[in-house]
Structures are given as C-alpha cells and as structure tokens.
Symmetry: C2
Subunit: 330 residues, 2 copies
Amino acid sequence: MKKLLNDPADAVTEALRGLAAAHPELSVDVDAKVVTRASGPTRGKVGLVSGGGSGHEPLHAGFVGHGMLDAACPGEVFTSPVPDQMLQATRAVDGGAGVLHVVKNYTGDVLNFQMAAEMADDEGVQVETVLVDDDVAVVDSTWTAGRRGTGATLFVEKVVGAAAERGDALGDLAALGREVVERTRSFGVALTPCTTPGSSKPGFELGEDQMELGVGIHGEPGRSTAPLATAREIAEASVAAIHDDMPLEGELLVLVNGMGGTPLMELYVLVDGVRAAVEGRGARIGRILVGDFVTSLEMAGSMVSLCRLTPQIAELWDAPVQTPALRWGR
Amino acid sequence: MKKLLNDPADAVTEALRGLAAAHPELSVDVDAKVVTRASGPTRGKVGLVSGGGSGHEPLHAGFVGHGMLDAACPGEVFTSPVPDQMLQATRAVDGGAGVLHVVKNYTGDVLNFQMAAEMADDEGVQVETVLVDDDVAVVDSTWTAGRRGTGATLFVEKVVGAAAERGDALGDLAALGREVVERTRSFGVALTPCTTPGSSKPGFELGEDQMELGVGIHGEPGRSTAPLATAREIAEASVAAIHDDMPLEGELLVLVNGMGGTPLMELYVLVDGVRAAVEGRGARIGRILVGDFVTSLEMAGSMVSLCRLTPQIAELWDAPVQTPALRWGR
C-alpha cells in the first residue's frame, strides 16, 4: 500500500507537527503527544479528555476545541496511548472541577486510562470515566472484552462537551455520557482492508467480490465475510443489526461515516438507503453527519451510528462547536 | 474497484437524494440535477452558480449555502453538466442583481456554461463568468485547452461568495474572482488511479512504486510518472512547481487537499512538509484548510493550492460560511 509519508515510524509525530502548523488554536506537545486547547484550562469547567490509537483521524485530536474536548492523546497507529500521556492531558485541562475521560472499549485503552485516572486521583484531580461500547457487531473481539467503541465516541464528545461548556458538574456529565452510549449503536462494513504504516501487507484479506460485515475500526473481524452487496443492502443490513439490538423509534441522531477510502458521493448514496431503512422502521433522521469522522486509515467502507435523541441530547448536539473537524454556530 | 453503490448508472441521482435527506437547508431538484439554497434567491444579491462533473465531492454541491454558492449543477461522473441545468440554476438564483458563473477550465464545462449564459441573457438575466485555471502542471491536457481548473475553485467560491453576501455588484465580483484565480496556483500528485462507477478498470495505471506528478482531478496525465517519493519530497515538488510559476511571498491561503483515498493523518504529514517548503521560500501560511475538498473519487494523493493573500481576500475568507462542507462563524 502506497502512503504519503516519510519514515513510517515518524508518521504520528509528523502528523502532529502538521496539526500544529494548521491549527494555532491548538497547543500540540509533539514529543509527549498531547493536544490541548491553546487557551488553556477553563476555570470551574470540567475538562474532557479522550485518546486512543492513531489512524482514526479526525478522532480524537480533530475534536479538541470549544464545545467538545479539552485534550486528546494520540497513541501510535492502532495502539493505545500510555498512561503518562493521559496523566499529562488530565493535569493540563484541570480547571478545578474535575476531569472526564472518554474511553473507547479496547483493553489497552481501558487499562491505561484507569491507571492515569488513579495517578491523577493521587494528585488530587477528581476523574470520572465514560466507557464507549456501541458496536453491535460482535462481543469479545480482537483487543476487546465486551463490545467495541466506535462512532458513539463522537456523539459523547460533542454532547458532553456542550454540557461541560455550560457548566454541568462532573457526575452529571458522566451520567449524560453514559446515557448517550446507552442510546447509541453502530455497525461497520469494510470493502477493502487497511495497512498500518510500515507494514508490508494489509491487516486482513478480502476477495475482489467480498465485504466484511460488522468490521471493527482496526479491521478486526466482524460477523461474516459476505459477497459484496449494494449500498441499499449494506444500509439495510447496518440499520437492521442496530434495530435488532435497540429498537429504533422517534428522532435519531445519525452518523454515516466513511472509513477513510470511500468517496463522499458513495456515502451520500448510502444516506439514501439509511433514510429508507430507518423510516421503514417507524423512526426518522432528526440530525445527521455525513463524512469521514472515525476512520481506519485508507479502508473503504462505512459505519452507521444511530442515537435515539432526547430533547436534551438534540439541544446539546446543536450547541456551538469550534474544532478542526466539527464546527458550527457562533 | 469495489464501490458502495447500487446501479452505477444511478450513482449521481441517488447521491443527490442522500444530499436532500441530509441537508434540509438545501433544495435539491434530483431529476434536473440542480442544488440551490432552500431559502431561495436573495433579493438584490448577485447569485453565484457553479457546477461540473460529479466525482469531486464535496465540490460543488457541498459548497451551496450562506456565504458561498447559491446553486450547483452536478453532471454525471467526470462529465460536464448540460446547459439546461445551468440555465435552470441561473434562473433560480437570480435576485435581480445578475448571476456569476464560476467555471473550471474544461472544454465541455466552458462551452456549456457559455451557452447557458447566452440563453439567460436572452431572458434578461445578466451573467458574468469567472474562469478558473490554476493548475500549473501542464498546458493543454485531456479535455482542456490551457490550464486545468482545480483547487482555486474553492477559493473563488468562498471569497466571492462572501463578497456577494455583503452586496458587491456583479462586475466587482467577477473582477475579484479573477484576482483570486490570478493569485492562486495548484499542483496535484496521484499515488493510485481512480475508477469511474460502472467502469471495469481504472482511468490510468500506476506501478506499485510509482506516482503521477501533476495529475489532473480526473486522473489526466501530469508532468511525469516518477518513482514514489516521500511526503517531504512531494510537498517540496508541489510548492516548487507553484513557486516557479508564481513566486511566493507574504501570507498564503493554503489548501492541502486529499484526492479522496488518502487518510487525514497522511495529509497532516504533508502539511508539515508544505509549511517547510513555503517558509524556505520566504512566505508563510496565513490561512489553511486540510482535508478532502476537491476530490477524484477514491484516488490516493494530494493537491496543494496556494493563494497569495491580500487583506481583502483574507477578510472575505474569514467571513461566515454555512454550507455542508465548509462552516464557520456565526
């Protein structure tokens, strides 16, 4: 797989240097691999920290800014960041009201964030954690006990970020984050595999007429390898898998997410199918985001995330946000 | 090439249906293939219309909204829209102050927009045209006499769109658009080819260790097929090609654009190289946009566009914009 890189071993560091060059509103500690708002911690506001392996951009560093995260810690590609990064980020965003960790459910991330939370606690910083495990495809996958965390992470970071901005307390934010996770389910499909920088071959194999149903965001196996289907069938299969797990009703917050290598035109074709599949079950699209937000390097494919909206979640979703990858309002 | 589609012949129509489902702030005439603001024409404001072949999303329909375009006409994939589409769009956005056509320099687009402008003129709508031809790679390419129009199109649509919003007159907007084109140059590189929906093979071929320097946004041949280089070398080659044609100085508006199949992490690695190459020539990044904005389906690769800023262009770039693909301010 051809890549636009220098030494593959420097990919994350150099991408962070590029991030710093492009976004002066962020403070990027390239050596420690910690990204915070350049404005520093907000006094009296709960700080929001997330992080995880690189290769899912814009998640998480692209979501640092007003109305969303206070800090992100990128690990190496598809590798958990280390506790020291998380601790540095936690200290940096502590405004005296505690810090919330948003953690995708992968064993390495969970253990490292837990260790960082304990170290922060020893230093007198109160930390709560929201664990994201929205992927209905499989239970107990590669690197995961339980369900994997995927698209719901973006919803949690946006919704809880807005609530933190208005001054909600740490315990309330943790409860809100868990409510968003509880109301969200995701399902991904891969048309092609992806290759980590420096590897000579893809993480898995797919035949020329095959797709992986229920793929994870690191290319972990899903439910089955199946013959390549149409966009309509993929939309229907994704929404059906979610509906079987959490009956859909009312207004939904929808993410139609590209995995990195799928053209935007194809994602909009998928949106047409998702709309039909959702409406066929008596629900409807209340809010929708279409594009590459939680990616797997250059993987072709899609992930659909559906959150059953409440008036409060909708209001917080609509609130202003100013980050590199998500911007609206004000 | 595997694609997330139903019948490839319906790709553009179904993507427009998806666009309509996702963006109620747009009015999408799926049959006629014309996208306008749902709010209708603004009385006394010049209407801005662009269009071109599909496959470059979010260009152009993703740039319809306050502060940017009033209408977009998508053609079939890599195929010019027809004069009737352009005429319908022109009529739809006429608020009594005339209509500006923003046209990328491809022979089909140029002829069809010219015909539409004449028909609109016959109906009493005054039309001016800004021709975009910023690609320094080659002269007289496939489908083009002169230079190709690429990344500068986004700059023209944003900057002129902001000026139209504040009430500038048609002639002034045309002059401003030409000034932006005059001050902008672009250079693209392909790491992989792309395949149009329904085709059995890619539009061109590249060996496993090759790249195409100066590629066009439809995969047209560039200056040379060369051994795959590093991101630093590609950034240097892109900036050098631009600097040779238009000496760089002062503050630049920069687009580091993905062609559709390149991960965002790699684009940020490229940003690091572009910053070094620009600063090495005594110029600096004043504003920058990083992501997939002017694409070639699933092509892996990059395009760098550099515009020598003036205070006026910078101010108009910073002005509020509310479109599906570009949103900031207010």
